[in-house]
Amino acid sequence: MTDRKPVYLMTPALAWLTAFMVVPCLLILALAFFRRGIYGGIVYEFTLSNIALVFDPLYARIFLKSAGIAGLAATIAVVIGYAAAYAIASMPRKRQPILLFFAVLPFWSNYLVRTYAWIVLLNREGLIVSLARAVGFEGELPQMLYTETAVVIGLVYNYLPFVILACYAPLSRLNPEIHEASRDLGASEWTTFRRVTLPMTVPGIATGFVFVFVLSIGNFVTPALLGGGQFQMIGNLIYDQFLTANDWPFGAALSMFLIAIMMGLLTLQTFASEKASGQQRAEVCDD
């Protein structure tokens, strides 16, 4: 095959991606360096003030806050997701696909609907309160909806299937003989898990963590619905710059920052995966 034909096949899609993804993203990048007009709008004059504003204590605090929430959600999701993936991988081989299918199924239903389900559960007149009353609990129940806890629960709930999928992949690829080799050499089940299984499946954990973290920190639906607008994540901040505050250059700078965090984490994750699988540039040396 010559190279001519494939280019011709790829052209329409690449043109589309260039026009409606690459160019808009470059535009955002450029926008981050322009000045905001007094009444909104953009003044085409180079400035670094938007970038500087990202590091302003007021916004830095929001960043740290949302990074904290995203980090907590990602950690919880990884712990639950890894345990679930490990459990699925330890079931009989032919049952695993169906278990995995049902673990991931909720991920493909509507995000808003899944978030709304937690409003129904956590509401002041919601199911959990009703159940507590039904079993005779009389005291004052703490506010559950519109709290940070609610946001973290919502994020974990929504992204858990993804983490299960990410952790299952390396777990299912493990050669069962590796596990047996460790037992054979005198290690207990727990030692085998700690010294062999866990280090070999770090890539899945890293992938799961990075995605939950990035999707959470840039989220604005969950904080808006379950957080009740009590506090802001970077996603909400960006949303506001574009739809209410009308400071597009600052919104663009925030987006670039978000992308930078994501790329940084993805690079770290790639590094972690390579280290775990022992794939440094393999130079096989012959006998």
């Binding site: 047996e180 054979d184 050499l185 070999m200 699988s277 022992g278 040396c285």
Partner: protein, 354 residues
């Protein structure tokens, strides 16, 4: 006289309806190189996994040094396994792989380092100690797997198809090296293999398994020269079978010619039987031999060291295999279609129930 290290007493393993291992009893001696030989599905791997502790026998006992270990978990047995896939830990270096089993014994660091270094030099991988398994060749990985198991100084080392992943040339070298290492360490080796040649070359004794049952156990010479039945004869090496009928203390072939051989006691006149003779026992033009047959060359295969002739004979539907050494073959330019006669002695003839 060497003493018995391992005793298998009437081992049985059932998976649901399937009897993977069916009443196997074996004694394996101290310092022995033992081979479990069988085709896939013969139960040899199941037997090995029971010895390592990954499966428990459904009934029967495994005695190591007189103690029943059949219910002891794998991490508490003085038995180690070299896995078929080698099962090296990909995230650890060669040295870390070898140290792993010693760390499990909670030995002091200095002793671990000493023993790892010693093992690295034995398997000649000192210069690659810091490599990851991915950066090694097949032969090197095999040596790491061997070293990792050996360094624990087990009472018994199990090897699951140890040479299966290597190419033919390397396999030959490693057969000798394994024997050498076994000798040096004085540890009992049990090798599981489907390769009869490998078993013949390496093992002191061989057990042939078929359908979960022990068919025959003995030295390579016994196994090759005195197979107990037709299956064992066919499984090891190449064997010519000639259908015949027992007739007054001798065998009579379909075309009436007689084959002289010593008959097993359980064959009565009138019974169907099979006379068997190895291709290398057949001699060309030996008219004075105990047994003699005429045939026509239907095919020839040149192997360098020797020449194989396929003879069409009136006594068997299958061609008779004749193996001539290079010096014999050299003196005679054979051609397909040529008529030849072959002979062999009664001493080299085995007789089996058909």
């Amino acid at each position: 006289m060497t003493s018995t290290l391992l005793s298998l007493a009437n081992i049985e393993k059932r998976f649901g309806e399937l009897r993977a291992v069916n009443g196997v009893s074996l004694d394996i001696r101290e310092n022995e190189f033992f081979a479990l030989l069988g085709a896939s599905g013969s139960g040899k791997t199941t037997l090995l996994r029971m010895l390592a502790g990954f499966d428990m026998p459904s009934s029967g006992h495994i005695l190591l040094d007189g103690h029943d270990i059949s219910q002891v978990p794998p991490n508490h047995r003085p038995v180690n396994l070299m896995f078929q896939s080698y099962a090296l830990f990909p995230h650890m270096t060669v040295a870390q792989n070898i140290a792993y089993g010693l760390e499990m014994e909670k030995l002091p660091r200095t002793e671990i380092n000493e023993r790892v270094d010693e093992m690295l030099s034995t398997i000649q991988l000192t210069h690659l100690a810091e490599r990851k398994p991915e950066q090694l060749s097949g032969g090197q990985r095999q040596r790491v797997a061997l070293g990792r198991a050996l360094v624990k100084r087990p009472r018994l080392l199990l090897l699951d198809e140890p040479l299966g992943a290597l190419d033919k040339k390397l396999r030959g070298e490693m057969q000798l090296e394994l024997k050498h290492i076994q000798n040096k360490f004085g540890i009992t080796f049990i090798v599981v293999t489907h390769d009869q040649e490998e078993a013949l070359v390496m093992a002191d004794r061989i057990a042939i398994l078929k359908d979960g049952e022990l068919l025959q156990c003995g030295s390579p010479h016994e196994i090759y020269e005195y197979p107990v039945n037709r299956f064992a004869a066919d499984f090891i090496g190449v064997m010519n079978f000639l259908p015949a009928r027992v007739d007054a203390g001798a065998l009579c072939t379909a075309n009436g010619s007689r084959i002289s051989a010593s008959l097993p006691a359980d064959l009565k006149p009138g019974d169907n039987a099979l006379a068997a003779v190895r291709p290398e026992r057949l001699r060309l033009g030996a008219a004075d031999a105990d047994n003699c047959l005429n045939g026509r060359i239907s095919a020839m295969a040149y192997h360098g060291l020797d020449l194989h002739l396929h003879l069409e004979t009136p006594v068997s539907p299958h061609p008779l295999m004749v193996r001539l050494t290079a010096d014999v073959a050299e003196g005679h330019p054979f051609a397909v279609g040529e008529e030849v006669s072959v002979g062999w002695s009664a001493r080299d003839t085995r007789v089996f129930t058909a």
